[in-house]
Structures are given as C-alpha cells and as structure tokens.
C-alpha cells in the first residue's frame, strides 16, 4: 500500500485493517492526529483524505490506499502559517491544543469548499462533531470566520501590547 502524506509518498507496511490513525502515528511518526476516543466520537483524529475531512480512527488504511493525506503538520510551518492556523494563533482559539489538529484541518476544508466567507451556522455544522473541552468554542468559531475573510491578525477590539487594562470593577486596584 502507498499513501502520500503531507506531500511525501510513503510505503505502508501495517496490516490492511489498521486504522489510518495508528498508521500515521505509530508507523509514520506523524503525531498531530490524536487518539481522543478511537471510536469516531470526538474529532481529534481528523485528517484530510483527498481534501475531505475524515476520522482517521475509523478508516482502515487499506480503504484509502493511494490517497493523499493531509494532517495539521502539512498545512503550514511555524514561520509560515496557513490562514486558519494564523487566525487560531492570533485569536487564542487553542488552549491545551489537543483538539486543535482536528479543528484546523476540518475548518480548512470548509473554507476551501466554500471559497469565500463562511457564516457562523456553517462553522457550527462543519465542526459540530469536534469536541473542545477548554475553549467553550467561542474563539474557535471566531477564528474560522475570520480566516475565511482573510483576517489572520488579532481581533480589532483586542488591546495592543502594553495598553492599560480596562477597569472592570469600580474600586478595584486594577
């Protein structure tokens, strides 16, 4: 079997029914897809198979023989972030970071499919099967909508570095 993973062709030696997740992590050392549940429920293992977001934990490697696989590592480099990566970074859409690989690849596929600005309900639909226990989702949805509009910098209403903190509570020492 052969897979093209993040642009590099790889020969695969795992047994044919091995989940793609384990082939990526254990045979190829591509570790951004995470084993959050290994039963299709959480989305942390999501990768792009020929551009479509799929749960690699439920995908037997033989079923995708010859495909192009893209994981979070393949979307950009720390010095050259993709728009979705940049928006997630600038808008604090990752906290512990464990759900982030699945979120970012699924959001990237959504924006590619739409080819223009995506709306809130479209983000909720596309990321509906992805759990995040840290963020409460608000910043994730915000980052995806912003990335689809080419806004990859900080939110405009964020204070600049060094600016005074707003006083929230009258009489507080802040």
């Amino acid at each position: 079997m052969k897979l093209t993973v993040n642009g590099i062709e790889q020969e695969i030696f795992s047994p044919p029914l091995t989940p793609l997740l384990h082939v990526l992590r254990d045979e190829l050392d591509v570790t951004s897809p995470k084993a959050g549940c290994q039963q299709g429920g959480c989305g942390t293992c999501t990768v792009l198979i020929d551009g479509e977001p799929r749960r690699s934990c439920l995908t037997a490697v033989a079923a995708v023989d010859g495909s192009e696989i893209t994981t979070l590592e393949g979307l950009g480099e720390p010095e050259q972030l993709s728009p979705v990566q940049a928006a997630f970074h600038e808008r604090y859409a990752a906290q512990c970071g464990f759900c982030t690989p699945g979120m970012v690849v699924a959001a990237t596929a959504l924006i590619e499919r739409k080819g223009g600005p995506v709306e809130r309900d479209e983000v909720l639909e596309a990321l509906g099967g992805h759990y995040c226990r840290c963020t409460g989702y608000v910043k994730i949805v915000d980052a995806v909508m912003a990335a689809s509009r080419g806004q990859t910098g900080a939110r405009e209403d964020e204070p600049e570095t060094g600016e005074e903190a707003p006083v929230m509570i009258p009489g507080s020492p802040a």
């Binding site: 992590r25 050392d29 570790t31 951004s32 995470k34 084993a35 959050g36 549940c37 290994q38 039963q39 429920g41 959480c42 942390t44 994981t71 979070l72 590592e73 979307l75 950009g76 480099e77 720390p78 972030l81 990566q85 940049a86 997630f88 970074h89 604090y92 990752a94 906290q95 512990c96 970071g97 464990f98 759900c99 982030t100 690989p101 970012v104 759990y131 995040c132 226990r133 840290c134 900080a154 964020e158 204070p159 600049e160 570095t161 060094g162 600016e163 005074e164 903190a165 707003p166 929230m168 509570i169 009258p170 009489g171 507080s172 802040a174």
Partner: protein
C-alpha cells in the same frame, strides 16, 4: 506592568496550531511496550482467587504486576500533609468500585496486552454496594471501608465542623426559618487527552517518566512512595497537558508504568481508552447540602445551620481537603454571625471523586447563592438588596474567625447589578466595603466582630 492587559502570544501557541506540540502520547521511544489493566467488573466484591501464570506465558507479554509487586501499595496523595492513606494502587483482596485496577500487563502491542488481561484467572464474591450517601450512616447500610462509611480523621471529630456565636439564640429570635436542600451532581472532567504515561528505564538506573499530570510534584512524591525509591531515581517530564480540569491532579497512569518498566526493563506506555476514562477516572463529587437560615423580616441573616455530605467515592483522595474548603466558604461572601456547620466525607462504591475547578467551593457557592434568593423570596425582599445588606465588610469575621481586611462582595455585586441593568436605591448604590456603621451595624453584628470562631 507590561503583561497585564496586553496581548501576548502564547508560548506554546505556534506548536499547537502547527501540530508540533508534543503531548505524552506523541513521545516515541523504540521498543515501547503497551499497558492494559485488569479492572474490577463489580462495584463491591471480595477477590477470592487470582492466577496470572497463564497470562504470563502468552506471546508478547513481558511483565504483569499485581498488589504483591508494589513495595508500598497503600499510599495517599495527602499523606505527606498528615492525611492518612486509604487507597491501594492495585486492589488487594477486595474491590470497592467498578473499574478499580487489580493487575496490569505490559506487552508488545495493545492487543497482546488485552489478551493477557483476559487470560488472568480471577474470581470474586460480590458484596452489596452502597451508592446513596444519605443512607451511608444507617445501621443497615453495607459497610464498605475499613474506617466505616465516613472518613474519620478531622482532629478529634469524624467530620469537619464550624461553630460560631450562639446558634440557638439566632433561631429563637428569627422571624422566619428558610430551609433548602441542594444536590450538585458528579461531573466527569473529560479532557480530550485521556490519562496517559510513558516510563523509560535509563542506563543510569533512573526512570524517566513522561506524565500528563497537572501536579508534577504530587506525582513524583506518589510514584517515589509507592516504589519506595528516593526522588533522585525519578526524572519527570511534563507540563504539556491535553486538558485536565482537575482530573489530572490525582496520579493515574504514572505509577503502574513505572512498576512495569522496572519489571520488564523496557519503556512502557499506558494510554487509557475513552471508556476507561469514563468508567474509572475520577469525577467531581456529588454533594448533598442542607441549609436552614434564621432570618428577620427586614433581611438580616442571624444564623445558619448547615449539613453537607460529600460523596468521596471508594477512597478519600483529595475529598477531606475539598470539604475543608467547602466549610470555609459555607457562608458565601456574606457575614452570618451565628453558625453551626457539619460536613462529612462519605464513602460509597462510586469511582473516587477528586479535584475539578474549585471543587468544594463551587458546590457550596451554588447552594448558598440559590438559597439566598430563596430567602429573599420568602421574606419578600429584593435579592440584590439582601445580598448587599449582608455582604462582607471590613472588620467582619469569617466562619472560622478570620477578620476581613479587603472583602470584595460590595463592589462586585454593584458592578454585576450595573452590568445587567438592575436599578438599586441610592443607599445601596453608595455602599462600600468600609466597616459597618449606622443601620448596617445592628446589635447582633456588633457582637460578632468580637466573637471567635472555631474551625476544627
């Protein structure tokens, strides 16, 4: 101050968005064995026999550990602070919750480890389980712990107590007694990264442990104590946690990995399945909270009687500390001069409960704030005004007798009222945290500033 109020990039942010962050499960070490555990299928049972020899002979199996392999099997996270331990690392003769680990296998693959777990021969004699904390003290209730059904180590008492002022006086002089029962339920922390550890025996004789713990020094101490080795034999690598929310304060996978690595002389990794996480990892405790407040028609809370039952599950872990925090916060952000509080850590055959986001405090805050609104409705007073009237002020004393120096109740309550557009009369809008005087210093509060609390 450069950082406060400033936008700063997260130090780990680029790693997170590019997939370069290395979580414990992402650490690759050659020749790593995989761990699976034999867990109790019963809530409460005696282990009548166990035989691992067949499992040991299976292909790919390198080591099996049971309680007999643990140098110090019973150890507690708070033992170093003088809280006696009650939990075995691996069950010894009996099991007290479904999912309790009994034995663990290290093998070439997860499948081989699972097959070995299934090949361990074990028999149980089931016992009646206890799940309802309200029944734990009944004579009829099954006795599930060597200490009985209540954790008994609060100084001379078997529960956490607060006594302040003259509770009888308060209830005799009240216009109304307002009662309520509150039962916040268990919650699974459910981080996206399940419990995981990797232990690597080094040529130097040390063990390197990659841990997802939230509490590195707790884990080091716990592993060293179970193994009975000095701390300098252990090197912990951690700090990258795929979510914890309190559920990774207890040491979960580290110790078993360490034991198996020492026994097999191979690196071993244990990654819990999502089922194990739900079945056997700790949760936030369920609570049973009863409050009775002695109140006057003009909105003074003269006294509070309160009983709390904290469901500790099968072992105490951090529960004694949770109840202590609970006791400290049982008046909320308000001043009540006469108190009688009793809080019990109750054992049941549930999974042990532990830390989760302010555990002990969130439960009592939920109960107290809900109750204050109930009091307000009972006496026909605005709930905001009731809160402000009884709010902590400088010089008021807490339940355990500490004088307040900088209480924030008044400004925070006023800010909240403003944010949600609640109009308050001028006398309330102008309140400050400054010491009580005039109408806000009635006779019963004059006394309380001189009274000593007792927190035992």
């Amino acid at each position: 101050m450069k950082a406060v109020g400033a936008r700063l990039p997260r130090y780990d942010g680029l790693g997170h968005v590019t997939g370069r962050t290395q979580f414990v499960d992402d650490v690759r070490v050659g020749r790593t064995l995989w761990v699976k555990a034999l867990r109790s299928p019963h809530h409460h049972a005696a282990i009548t026999s166990m035989e691992t020899s067949k499992a040991e002979k299976l292909k790919g199996v390198h080591a099996i550990v049971t309680c007999a392999d643990v140098p110090k099997n019973v150890y507690g996270h708070l033992e170093a602070l003088g809280v006696p331990a009650d939990e075995p690392l691996l069950a010894d003769g009996e099991v007290r919750y479904k999912g309790q680990p009994i034995a663990a296998v290290a093998a070439e693959s997860e499948e081989a480890a699972r097959a070995a777990v299934e090949a361990i021969e074990i028999s149980f004699e089931e016992r009646e389980p206890l799940f309802d904390i309200r029944k734990a003290l009944d004579g009829e209730a099954p006795q599930i712990h060597q200490w009985g059904n209540v954790y008994p180590h609060y100084g001379p008492y078997n529960h956490r107590r607060v006594r302040k002022g003259d509770i009888e006086w308060a209830f005799e002089n009240a216009d109304a007694i307002v009662e309520g029962v509150y039962r916040p339920q268990a919650i699974e922390q459910m981080p996206m990264e399940t419990q995981v550890a990797l232990a690597v025996p080094e040529a130097s004789g040390r063990l390197t442990i990659y841990s997802c713990t939230q509490a590195m020094y707790f884990s080091m101490g716990v592993v060293a104590a179970h193994l009975q080795v000095p701390l300098n034999k252990l090197k912990f690598i951690g700090g990258t946690v795929g979510g914890g929310f309190g559920g990774k304060v207890d040491t979960a996978a580290d110790t078993v990995c360490a034991l198996l690595a020492l026994k097999s002389r191979r690196p071993v990794k244990w990654r819990w399945t999502r089922e194990e996480e739900f079945l056997a990892s700790s949760t936030r405790a369920p609570w049973h909270i009863e409050i009775a407040d002695a109140v006057t028609n003009d909105g003074w809370i003269l006294g509070r009687r309160m009983l709390t039952l904290h469901d500790s599950g099968a072992y105490s872990r951090f529960s004694p500390y949770g109840v202590t925090k609970h006791a400290f916060h049982h008046t909320g952000a308000y001043t009540i001069p006469n108190l009688r509080f009793d809080g019990f850590v109750v054992y049941t055959n549930r999974v042990p409960t532990t830390a989760m986001r302010g555990f002990g405090v969130t439960s009592v805050s939920f109960a107290v704030e809900t109750h204050l609104t109930r009091v307000a409705h009972a006496i026909g007073m605005d709930p905001w005004q009731l809160r402000l009237k009884n709010a902590n002020r400088i010089g008021d004393t807490s339940g355990n007798g500490v004088a307040m120096k900088d209480p924030s109740t008044v400004p925070v309550t006023l800010a909240a009222a403003e944010r949600v557009g609640v109009e308050l009369p001028a006398e309330f809008r102008q309140m400050t945290p400054e010491p009580r005087s005039g109408d806000l210093l009635p006779e019963h509060l004059r006394e309380q500033q001189r009274l000593n609390g007792e927190d035992s």
